[in-house]
């Protein structure tokens, strides 16, 4: 027994080693050279090293393949799947924590209409596609149909945010609408998942699912989400105040995450998916003053664990199971894209955008990512979808994520996206740019850090938008500021309303710097410090003694 446990753990450790190295390398390759999101590289790394590709070959040292196929629906061992589950909880906990509720509330009307339209239309189109094209699926309430519907709803706004920032369109009407819609999209997607998991559970127990039961399940799921979120937001400030008494952000972050794990477990026992509890905990903490520190403290485990999740999801892709559904995969992908284009585009048209603007908004809502993978993983683990449909989901995710960036970039060419009347009203809202040029890159790096620190001091949320470039989004309430650094140039974009604030803040940061430089000048001269450091370097002990005499 002991030997087999040791063997099991040895294999697990070797698997993790392969996953961590492969996912990081491919993630880097994708983002650096192919200019694609890292998540795609991580996902594909799993497909390459997983049990359906390289991972199936026998390695003599461990008397078997590195990734043997276990029995059951999952393609990886339960131990490894456990790591992926914890990673998905970390992912959703941090997504919740990063939720920008104030921006959402500020632009809630347009954002809600666009987000809601996107979710409802995509869901219905995905669900209908399953009923029309899959012979096994006989009703709209079939778990496979429900999962395919849910899978086509989630948006991953990370890619869009990066492009908007690069094109300096983040605070454009289209930009803020997308960012606000994405918040609602996340929440709705998660509630929808809760409902779908509930229905699928009843369905797989063999019972039919009458409409009234769906109502009960939906009410339960939404109720759980709403009650937990409201209680969470109410008690979070008190809780964090209490936790701050430990005087250690490590403890605050760890206990917060511990609570996230607890609520994740609780939501599963309540018949909902674990990630809902994790997301709600993050969302509750997002408006507290420790949110930024908790996020920074957990960033390390996020960077380590989350690629494991994406890689393990890639491992679940069974290429042979996809042969029969490749054509359906293409249809589903097109439907998922059209669902967002119409679902978000039509409400955008109705809320003051012209065709160009509506297309920009819907192109921004196209990329799929993390939540799609989590939903697909849950569907596969629960048996609601098979390996074939899991493959279809991954296919849709890959294609829509690759197609949307060039589409979005192209869509932003040309004039205003607002209808003539609105455009006139918004004319003076064009972003103001502040450009600062410094003598060297090192100095610019330092000053950039000082400026972002000054924003943090003013309680702004800072998020780095791109791993390879210095692009930051700085937010607080309705204020949106984009900061980027290219070599020795810093550029800050903001709306005219906050231009003075930004100028004052940058000035104060530079004045602090002046103080630091003056302090450094009053220090002992570098020459004499250097002489002190070198003194006696090439002297023997005897010489030293003589010198001291």
């Amino acid at each position: 027994m002991e030997i087999s446990m040791t063997h099991l753990m040895t294999v697990l450790v070797l698997q993790l080693s392969a996953i961590v190295i492969a996912s990081k390398l491919l993630g880097y390759f994708f983002s650096r050279y192919l200019k694609q999101p890292r998540v795609l590289g991580e996902l594909i790394s799993g497909m390459i090293i997983g049990p359906y590709a390289l991972g199936k070959f026998v390695i003599p040292a461990i008397n078997g393949p590195l990734f043997p196929l276990p029995e059951g629906t999952l393609s990886v061992s339960p131990e490894l799947y456990g790591f992926a589950i914890v990673a998905s909880i970390i992912l959703l906990f941090l997504s919740g924590l990063e939720t920008d509720l104030p921006t959402f509330l500020k632009y809630s009307v347009k954002g809600s209409v666009v987000g809601l339209g996107g979710v409802v239309v995509s869901f219905l189109m995905g669900d209908t596609a399953a009923v029309l094209f899959l012979p096994k699926v006989d009703s709209f309430l079939h778990p496979t149909a429900l999962f395919l519907g849910t899978l086509s709803t989630a948006t991953s706004v990370g890619i869009t945010a990066r492009i908007l920032s690069e094109k300096r369109k983040m605070s454009s009407p289209e930009g803020v609408t997308i960012l606000a819609a994405a918040v609602l999209d996340d929440v709705l997607g998660i509630v929808l998942l809760a409902v779908v998991v509930g229905v699928a559970k009843v369905h797989s127990a063999g019972a039919g699912v009458p409409w009234k039961n769906i109502g009960i399940i939906a009410a339960k799921a939404f109720g759980f989400w709403l009650v937990c979120t409201v209680i969470g937001i109410l008690i979070a400030p008190r809780l964090t105040k209490g936790l701050k008494r430990f005087r250690s952000m490590d403890i605050v972050a760890s206990i917060s995450f511990g609570i996230g794990l607890f609520l994740a477990g609780l939501s599963e026992t309540a018949g909902l998916a674990m990630i809902i509890g994790a997301y709600v905990t993050g969302l509750s903490l997002s408006q507290t003053d420790v949110a930024h520190d908790v996020r920074e403290k957990l960033q390390g485990i996020y960077n380590f664990f989350v690629p494991i999740f994406f890689c393990v999801m890639g491992m679940m892709v069974n290429f042979s199971a996809m042969k029969g559904v490749f054509f359906f995969g293409l249809i589903y992908t097109v439907i998922a894209i059209l669902g967002k284009i119409f679902g978000c585009g039509i409400p955008a048209l109705l809320t003051g955008f012209n065709f160009r603007g509506a297309f920009r908004v819907s192109a921004g809502m196209l990329p799929r990512g993390e939540v799609t993978l989590i939903v697909a993983g849950i569907g596969l683990a629960s048996g609601a979808i098979g390996h074939d449909m899991f493959g279809v989901a991954i296919m849709a995710l890959l294609i829509s994520s690759i197609v949307s960036p060039p589409l979005l970039i192209k869509s932003f060419k040309g004039g205003s996206g607002l209808r003539a009347k609105q455009a006139e009203e918004k004319k003076e809202e064009a972003a103001r740019q502040i450009r600062l040029d410094f003598p060297s890159v090192r100095m610019t790096d330092f000053i950039r850090e000082e400026i972002t620190h000054a924003f943090k001091e003013e309680e702004f949320f800072i998020s780095r938008m791109d791993f390879n470039r210095q692009i930051y989004h700085i937010r607080k309430d309705e204020i949106l500021i984009a900061l980027s650094q290219e070599d020795n140039l810093i550029e800050i974009n903001t709306s005219p309303k906050y231009e003075e604030f930004v100028r004052l803040l940058v000035l104060e940061a530079l004045l602090e710097l002046k103080e630091l430089i003056e302090g450094a000048q009053s220090m002992k001269s570098p020459d004499s410090i250097g002489a002190d450091l070198l003194k006696g370097l090439f002297e023997s002990d005897e010489d030293k003694k003589k010198r001291n005499l």
Binding site: D289, K456, E457, E458, E459, E500, L504, L511, K514
Partner: protein, 147 residues
């Protein structure tokens, strides 16, 4: 930022006595001292003068915003004072300063400080509002036109 919460009648002065930059800063600090929220006058004064030494806080159009972060306060406090004759504050446009908003925030603690200054600055950008503040007969009148 809730300006109404920070700027109340107790922290307004329709006519500051000072004739020099230093005196005006001390006048304003004395107003803040009366609120009981400044624990150490000297520390607060040092921090304000240090900031002025780096670069004057005299802006354009007669507005000056002396400010600093100090351990002498526990929360953001501010006051507003007027000197109709104007005082040389080494302002950006070289004109004498007439409307002064002093702000002190706790050091080593995050919170809006510059944002507060910017918001007050934004209000006083309009010439009409500046004129109303300058010609106000009572503290209430000042509050009415800026809040």
């Amino acid at each position: 930022m809730n300006l109404r919460k920070v700027l109340t009648e107790d922290v307004l002065s329709l006519n500051l006595d000072g004739r020099t930059k230093q005196e005006i800063i001390e006048n304003l600090l004395d107003i803040l001292m009366k609120t009981g929220k400044v624990k150490n006058r000297q520390d607060a004064l040092d921090c304000l003068l240090e900031r002025e030494a780096k670069m004057s806080t005299g802006m354009q159009n007669g507005i000056a915003i002396p400010h600093g972060k100090t351990e002498a306060v526990e929360e953001l406090i501010a006051c507003l004072g007027i000197k109709k004759e104007g005082v040389d504050f080494q302002s950006l446009d070289g004109k004498p300063s007439t409307i002064f908003i002093m702000t002190l925030s706790p050091k080593n603690r995050s919170g809006p400080h510059i944002q507060f200054l910017a918001e007050v600055g934004q209000l006083l950008k309009e010439e009409e509002i500046r004129n109303k503040v300058m010609n106000a007969q009572s503290k209430k009148e000042i509050l009415d036109c800026i809040l």
